[in-house]
Subunit: 341 residues, 2 copies
DNA sequence: GTGAAAGCGCTAACAT
DNA sequence: ATGTTAGCGCTTTCAC
């Protein structure tokens, strides 16, 4: 006699592909073809199968599909810091698009920590994700190789290790950042400082580079003490602004590599008994939703996390997508004004 | 002749449990026992197997394990709004704890939208999560039944549909909220308003209830026009404060159901040409990290999202855990002061 | 175009 | 304590 399977007995009606096949009077292969949209099924059978699926309330078993097909329908997204509001907005966009295309999302947060990044990569590998979006704006080579060696498609923001299976989402930093610099110059500022992001972060470097070339383009120059390397957190912004306020000849305007730094900078300005924009003008980067709610509402360079996320998902899923450049542009609010004197 | 499997041929060395078994000179069952920490394996074999695993670089196939065991090692967490900073902090805690216990996390964001909530539940069901944490502070009965009928363990915050497989994380709102009210009263406030959360949200209702009973406890009473139902967003907070400022006899202090509402309220206060805390004292709820960075730094009632998340994961995984009450307490910063006159 | 059947890599009965 | 083996539910070759 046949051994019984554990759990339910074979006679107890389970709801698997066989049940559907029987009910529709076709083979399991046909049911499989139907649910996978394989064309070569006669319209009539197709209809019968869908009917059976509906009436039975059948839902294919994801695990089994994943096992046999080798595709998990899982997408990984690696970010730096989920408590930086830029990333939740990005994640939201990522998940929405992923779900729309039938994927689930695994989030890995590195906290700017290499060890955590390694753990993230490991987790993604173990779960056999069908692709990973590296939105940390930077990754170490060896880790990258681990992913690449598995042939897992990857998408990066803003830097392009030229390898197979790797695509890049280019960001047009120059447009937004040079507009910001020109905005300050038109207001009359000549003494402009920059609170940068982490030194090793590609995106942070790109923003600083864009700032420098914009400054040069308007014929200005900045002392090296006017560039502070923060870490894209509020705390870093506070430290950066404290540093700048200590300068003998302090800047009349400060640009920040992201909005969170700018918010931290505001804190330092207020603590020093100064006010924005009267004493110091401030410009952020990202345009997180908070930027318009903070007091004073922050002038910033907008870069849409949602847009980036959508592009990333599409690049991962529809591999042949041509990836367009992501735009940035200046949003003028109330944290910028003409300098006092 | 045997049919060849698609993809790689059987002779090409694959790296599965059989490879390990051969290499260690044991059966696949033993390998399985070893990687699952089943006790009944002789120490010597155990060592041999681990050795083989290490040298081969074997990693068990998650999909196969999930299929056969019926456990996905996936945990779902349903939240309201990922762009409310309280939730990223919670998610971070959730993921960290989940990863620590060998689980991955699926995030569902409802945006306070019932239809999206339904989609979330569906996704979780489809992925056969081993448990779901409903952190939206509210869920509809029918959806809950869908999850319950699958026998999926669930954990809720702060409300307890008494069913099987469902646990609840109780929150001690009273301590923090009554401390906040007493703080205001001690400063001299008598006219205190409340910007509540969404009417249907259990947590929002609990907070309002705690506020009301604290008000009563100090012998005060509040007109119904002093309670505004917002939606826990900045926008809602702004509207709420605008509403309160229109009152003939406007409040001297306002408590908010969460920090984001308070930040929105700040916006309205500033737009009205008033200032905090000189003209109006303001208290938030949650103590998101931003609360201490905003200007002025926000007095608020602290409730740790990380703590809640950790408890939630433990409740889901180690089902027999006794769940302790989550504390709340007042954090006094600079958004509260004595009323003007 | 459709069906039969061989696995995907693993776990857990059952036998030893 | 260890091994043998039958599936988990599905996809995909191969034969018709």
């Amino acid at each position: 006699m046949k051994k019984q399977t554990r759990g339910q007995s074979r006679t107890t009606k389970r709801l698997d592909i066989r049940t559907v096949a029987e009910s529709a009077g076709v083979s399991v292969a046909t049911v499989s073809r139907v649910i996978n949209n394989v064309t070569s099924v006669a319209p009539e059978l197709n209809a019968r199968v869908w009917e059976a699926i509906r009436t039975l309330g059948y839902v294919p078993n994801t695990q089994a599909r994943a096992l046999v097909s080798g595709r998990s329908r899982l997408l990984g997204v690696i970010i730096s810091d989920i408590t930086n509001p830029f990333f939740p907005e990005l994640i939201q966009g990522f998940e929405d698009k992923a779900v729309e295309l039938g994927y689930e999302t695994l989030i890995g947060s590195t906290n700017y920590d290499l060890h955590r990044m390694e753990l993230c990569v490991q987790r993604m590998l173990q779960r056999k994700v069908d692709g990973v979006a590296v939105m940390t704006f930077g990754i170490e080579e060896p880790l990258l190789d681990r992913l690449a060696s598995q042939g897992i498609p990857m998408v990066f923001v803003d830097l392009a290790p030229q390898k197979k299976n790797i695509s890049t989402i280019p960001i047009d930093y120059d447009t937004g950042i040079s507009a910001a610099v020109r905005h300050l110059v038109e207001l009359g500022h000549r003494s402009i400082a920059f609170i940068a992001g982490p030194k090793h972060l590609h995106s942070a470097k790109s923003r600083l580079r864009a700032f420098r070339s914009a400054i040069q383009a308007v014929g200005l120059s900045i002392p090296s003490s006017f560039v502070y390397f923060g870490d894209h957190t509020m705390e870093g912004g506070t430290r950066g602004m404290e540093h700048l306020l200590q300068q003998a000849d302090r800047p009349t305007a400060v640009m920040c590599s992201n909005d969170m730094s700018a918010i931290g900078a505001m804190h330092a300005i207020s603590r020093a008994g100064l006010s924005i924009p009267t004493d110091i003008s401030l410009i952020g980067f990202d345009d997180i939703r908070l930027a318009s709610f903070i007091l004073p509402p922050l002038t910033t360079v907008r870069m849409s996390g949602r847009d980036i996320a959508e592009v990333a998902v599409k690049a991962l899923v529809e591999k042949d997508t041509k990836i367009g450049m992501v735009a940035t542009d200046l949003v003028v609010r109330n944290s910028t004004a003409a300098p006092k004197n």
